[in-house]
Amino acid sequence: MRDRLPGSQLIPLVTGAGLFALVTRAILSLPGESAGLSVRVTETAAENGISNVVTAVLLDFRGYDTLLEIAVLMLVTVAVFSLRETTMSPTPLSERPGPVLGALTRTVIPVMLLVAGHFVWIGSSRPGGAFQAGAVIGAAGILLALSGYSRPKWVGPRAISWVLSIGLLVFVGVAVYPVLLGEELLQYPAESRKALILVIEALLTLSIGASLVSLFIASASPRVQGDRE
């Protein structure tokens, strides 16, 4: 470390310690029990037939947060695209997979896809759901990229852009659909609520998975040739 003024070390230390003291004091001042919104949420979710209450909060009660969150994901992908040094080339990220990694990938990827599908399917009743499934798909895609599988030629930046935008556009469409029926934004009609939520779950899974993979591919530097012009 370089020599610094004593004050430049002291201020962050005091900030950190002060924050900790402040938060500790606040946490210890809280009553031992508090229901928050849990009772109301659990009852309403049960009436609507979704037994995984977390999924109900994410996709139904606070579905608007989730819509904006998908927007965050797509926005970051756009931002990372705009920061790339070169246009995307179908160059594999690493030279070629070693025998172990290759074999591992061939076994693990199908299992990961199965797990993701499983998460989406059971998401309304047990732990799991679009977020986890999307994350698993994202991890599977990154594993593929790392172990040297190049993108097929037809999966150019355009195709990736389309997948990402369609995810967001369909979500916007599903959100606006109730408005056409005279309801509020994101207010799914009772008879099609479960179906629409499943549609959103599937869509979210693809969107989250595609965003995570493209964040990695778009920002990862090809290892074989230098990528500077």
């Binding site: 606040a26 809280l30 309403t44 139904d60 009660f61 926005l75 931002a79 705009s82 852009s161 994101l186």
Partner: protein, 493 residues
């Protein structure tokens, strides 16, 4: 429900859909698509203001659940005013940007991704101005922060990247601290909806700590002295239409949330000292920002420091709003008027600074002598924007500062008035310094720079609107008071 009831939702969904579309459409369609979107948003924003003026404030219950279970959008006077400000500045910046970014270089400005980023930013600002939920504010703040940082780094040079990175880290520190505050507030109260939080305020250390953390985080994001370090470099390094939007709108976004928290969520006396602290930081910003602006040698840095100073006035208004134990309506009107007039004038200031930079090929003040002769429209725009910064009549800045000074004398806190008067003199100094160079004898611009001359009148238009805003103060006053729980009815002096 009729169609007008959906205006708050439409104001968020329109730019969002536009952003998703520009990401996939062909590049040569983008400017047209964005322009159409901007016009539609402006129409919607006008309609929202008309609707709020005619029928009063209303809430939009997303998903039909309604608070506290769901998330509500809130359309009242202040939110309608800020949405309208964003629309006007946004429309002008879009029109300016269509020629600014229309260079032939395919790789410039993020390969045309600027349009998607800009519409995401607009989505985020509208969402921020309309939301009534403290956790949703967090998501909106992140959307604002990410799109703003990405727009700053579009220049692509090392300086832009460093400025963008500093901005991003400040923004992340702010967002995390805000979320920690929300965590404590929710744990103490069990609610996330601002109106619910405000109607049944919870006593106690945890709720107060949460609110203090949230406000501190927003202060960092609004770049008040002493946590303003990230703003000048970021605003100066960004492409000029982006600088205009950042200075005019983005810093107002976090200020708007502070306003909401102070007016809607906290009850008087809940956080003793907070109002005065915010006012004192605001006063420090006025002095420090103005002095720094006076010392700068580059136009864009001068304009950026002037933003730090002008934001200070918005915070000096906060202790005055709470001066009588309730809410002093005049001070709220003054703050809103100042936010609007500064937004318009600063956008004009930055756009003309950007055009000058294009014309001259640099933005060093000392080498701009003769600009008034060769680029009269741009020099004029800077001067007219300066009228608002100084607070001369009939600008909106004049009325805002006048009302704030009167209020501070009325409630016996004359020291705020002293700082504001000093700030006015300092801003006069930095404006005159700039104008003096422009009108001095000199060669003017080299005259060979590629330049979008057809949008040069836009900055002058924005600056003039700010300079004439005094005539619209009665309307602003009426609008701002709609839906506000005013402690004491007051009449404009």
């Amino acid at each position: 429900m009729t169609l007008v009831d959906h205006l708050p939702a439409a104001l968020i969904m329109t730019p969002l859909a536009g952003a998703a579309l520009t990401f996939v459409t062909r590049r040569r369609w983008d400017p047209a698509l964005v322009m159409v979107t901007a016009v539609v948003i402006t129409g919607l924003a006008l309609a929202l203001s008309v609707r709020v003026l005619a029928e009063g404030a209303f809430r939009y219950r997303l998903g039909g659940w309604g608070a506290p279970l769901g998330i509500d959008l809130v359309a009242d006077g202040i939110s309608a005013l800020f949405v309208l400000l964003a629309a006007v500045v946004g429309l002008a910046a879009t029109a300016y940007a269509t020629s600014y970014f229309g260079t032939g270089d395919e790789d410039a400005y993020g390969r045309g991704l600027v349009w998607a980023l800009w519409l995401f930013l607009w989505t985020a600002l509208n969402a921020l101005f309309l939301t009534g939920d403290v956790f949703n504010v967090y998501v909106c703040l992140e959307l604002v922060g990410i799109s703003a940082v990405a727009l700053v780094t579009l220049g692509g040079g090392a300086d832009a990247l460093r400025a963008g990175a500093r901005y991003l880290f400040a923004s992340m520190l702010g967002a995390m601290t805000y979320l920690l505050g929300v965590a404590l507030l929710y744990s103490a109260t069990g609610h996330l909806d601002m109106a619910t939080l405000g109607s049944a305020p919870t006593q106690g250390i945890a709720a107060s700590t949460g609110l203090v953390l949230m406000v501190s985080a927003l202060v960092l994001k609004t770049a008040l002295v002493p946590v303003h370090f990230w703003l000048p470099t970021a605003h100066a390094a960004a492409p000029s239409p982006v600088s205009a939007v950042l200075s005019a709108l983005v810093v107002k976004g976090s200020y708007y949330v502070i306003l909401r928290l102070v007016l809607d969520v906290t009850y008087p006396g809940q956080l003793p000292g907070l109002d005065v602290t915010l006012g004192a930081l605001g006063a420090a910003s006025i002095v420090w920002g103005s002095v720094q602006a006076l010392l700068q040698t580059r136009v864009k840095l001068l304009v950026a420091y002037s933003t730090v100073a002008q934001i200070g006035y918005l915070f000096v208004a906060i202790p005055l709003m709470r001066a009588d134990g309730g809410i002093v309506g005049v001070a709220v009107t003054a703050a809103a008027a100042h936010a609007v007039s500064h937004g318009l004038a600063k956008a004009g200031f930055f756009l003309s600074a950007g055009s000058l930079q294009h014309r001259f090929g640099h933005d060093r003040i000392s080498e701009m002598a003769g600009a008034a002769r060769t680029t009269p429209v741009l020099a004029m725009a800077c001067a007219v924007a300066g009228v608002t910064m100084m607070g001369l009549p009939p600008s909106g800045g004049f009325v805002a500062k006048w009302l704030l000074i009167l209020t501070s004398i009325n409630v016996g806190q004359w020291w705020w008035a002293a700082v504001m008067i000093a700030g006015g003199l300092l801003s006069a100094a930095y404006t005159f310094r700039l104008v003096a160079v422009f009108v001095a004898e000199g060669a003017g611009d080299p005259g060979d720079a590629h330049h979008p001359a057809r949008t040069e009148w836009l900055p002058l238009l924005l600056a003039s609107a700010a300079a004439l805003l005094a005539f619209a103060i009665p309307q602003i006053d009426t609008l701002v008071r709609i839906g506000m729980n005013l402690g004491r009815a007051e009449v404009l002096p």
